[in-house]
Amino acid sequence: MKDRMETIRSFSCLENFERGDINCTKLAILHLVMHMKIGLPKALLYYRYGVLWETFFHELGFDVEVSADTSKETLEIGTKTTLDENCLPLKIFMGHVKSLIGQCDRILVPRFSRTSKTEEYCVRFWGLPDVVQNTFPNAPIISYNLDIGLHRSEAAAFIKIGHTLGKSKSAAFQAYRAGCRAQQRLEQQNMRVQSTQLHKSDKKILIAAQPYLIHDAYVGGQLQKMIAQQGVTPVFSDRCNRRLCRALSKEISNDLYWSLNKEMIGAIELCKNQVDGIILLTAFPCGSDALVNELVLRRVQNVPIIQILMDEHTAPAGLETRIESFVDILAKRRPYA
């Protein structure tokens, strides 16, 4: 990073510019654009669109830096920069953004609102770019807006982002297509792995939660490890067929309009006969989960469910006790396993 800044400085030093040496300045800008480094905070929707984003920027010829796994420190930084009332995933996200400031030329903070006429993301995602920009006024943010309710498609959003980075429409579109393919490949592979796991006869627990909780190293990572230590296979609600899940979600809730929650409860409906138990993982104080999980707990019968609430104070010891006792309950239900 430092070296690059110096080269740029040597290219575009003021004297050159004053001499009217336009070429030098042009070269400098070109250099800057070519080797721009895009930062991706490894939080929230990275766990759903990460590969798409990485491939997209790679295809356009940018360097990509993904922030490190969530650690206790990330969370602490995030907690310091946001209000207490905010949800845990946001605090983690802010910690990641903070760690990328100064390391990258641009940081991707997308906005997600409506994904179809009747579906949308939690309003947390609607305000993400604004929250980041107002909290870190100097952060170099690039953002794209996914709002299909306004007759805009995902492709259009990516083309726009390419445009702001000085890339042509066709190049951006090609990169977007490549990104989609890569993302799809990964998802299909994940799904295949999961479906073979589901058909095995060992004990399985479905972790039903938002993808950014399940796969976060600090939140879901701990939980996955603990479950595996008990000799149980964890399966994940975000590694099921999404279209099927969305359709199945009607079985549990008719009015639900949050995409991520819809997929989550659809996965519960899909897997509930194939798993031994379900863990509803939620973070303090997640607004959509508070309502949806209440409904799930009231409407899904015949399978043991517990809700596990994570916040920045959750101690591993307490969590372990809860997982162990839950697994013990499952063992009593299925003595032959």
């Binding site: 907690t79 310091k80 207490d84 920045e312 104070h313 101690a315």
Partner: protein
């Protein structure tokens, strides 16, 4: 000046009676010119003593501190039950925050931990200063800090290190909760009961990297502020009658059935005469 600092022990009326007796003994000839009350029970005590001024503790603390340190920019206040930060610019309050969620990092927390370690609370500061390697205690919440402390005690830390760790936990907790997002500019004044604890003071100085002033009367700044404010407001009042201390004061709560609002009304009596009541929400409500 006559002064005293005592705990309410859940009985503010009794505490005020005791307090007045102490003050009277300290200055038997003094005449009471005006009365100001502040703190969480300010209304109750204000009604009891017919106070000239009933002021919230934030303003009272700011006024009191400004009378001693005119150039103060940040006031850190940690009292028995709550803690606050007051930011001052050009002699007026610019911003403030209070702990609203829990009692972590207040005097109550320190005194309960002192009891657990079986040391007098007054000795905590000096003990903390002697520690070479303070224990790291989680600074989040009373419950966590407590379990963490037990754990550390069992791991073999000395009492001194534990106390020093507790003091640091209080300071860190304060800065993470109450002081979050606030720009702490020096000169800084630290006050409230906990400011008497040298260990906490040292921890604050270390965390902030600034010199922090602690006034000799740092625990009385709120009272001083209320006194100053009452002095400005005072009208000709009847001389204060100490015989009222012998009288019986009671509060009665009931639900008013006068209209459908069902206000919960607290009435405050001296003997049989009604002094004041609170909780009425009917007349003059807006919107």
């Amino acid at each position: 000046m006559a002064s005293a600092y005592i705990w309410t022990q859940g009985d503010p009326i009794g505490a005020v009676k005791r307090l007045l007796n102490i003050l009277r003994r300290q200055a038997p000839d003094a005449e009471i010119g005006s009365i100001g009350t502040t703190g969480s029970a300010r209304k109750l005590i204000g009604a009891m003593l017919h106070a000239d001024v009933v002021k919230n503790e934030i303003t009272a603390h700011a006024v009191g501190t400004l009378s001693r340190h005119a150039d103060v920019r940040t006031i850190i206040e940690i009292g028995g039950q709550d803690s606050k930060i007051i930011l001052i610019e050009d002699g007026i309050v610019k911003d403030y925050a209070m702990n609203t969620l829990c009692a972590a990092g207040t005097g109550a927390f320190l005194s309960s931990q002192a009891k657990r370690l079986e040391i007098p609370i007054e000795a905590m500061g000096d003990m903390a200063m002697q520690s070479q390697s303070p224990a790291k205690i989680a600074a989040r919440c009373t419950v966590f800090a407590e379990s963490d402390m037990i754990h550390k005690a069992q791991a073999g830390y000395s009492k001194m290190d534990l106390v020093a760790g507790l003091c640091r936990a209080v300071a860190a907790n304060y800065l993470n909760n109450v002081g979050k997002g606030k720009q702490i500019v020096s000169p800084i004044v630290f006050q409230g009961g906990v400011s008497k604890n040298k260990g906490v003071l040292a921890a604050f100085q270390e965390e902030l990297g600034e010199k922090i002033h602690v006034d000799a009367d740092s625990h009385l700044m709120g009272a001083l502020g209320a006194a100053i404010l009452s002095q400005k407001k005072t009208t000709h009042r009847k001389p204060f009658d100490f015989s009222m201390l012998q009288m019986e004061y009671v509060t009665r709560a009931h639900i008013c059935s006068g209209c459908t609002n069902n206000c919960e009304i607290v009435q405050f009596y001296r003997g049989d005469t009604l002094l004041d009541s609170w909780g009425k929400r009917c007349e003059g409500s807006v919107g």
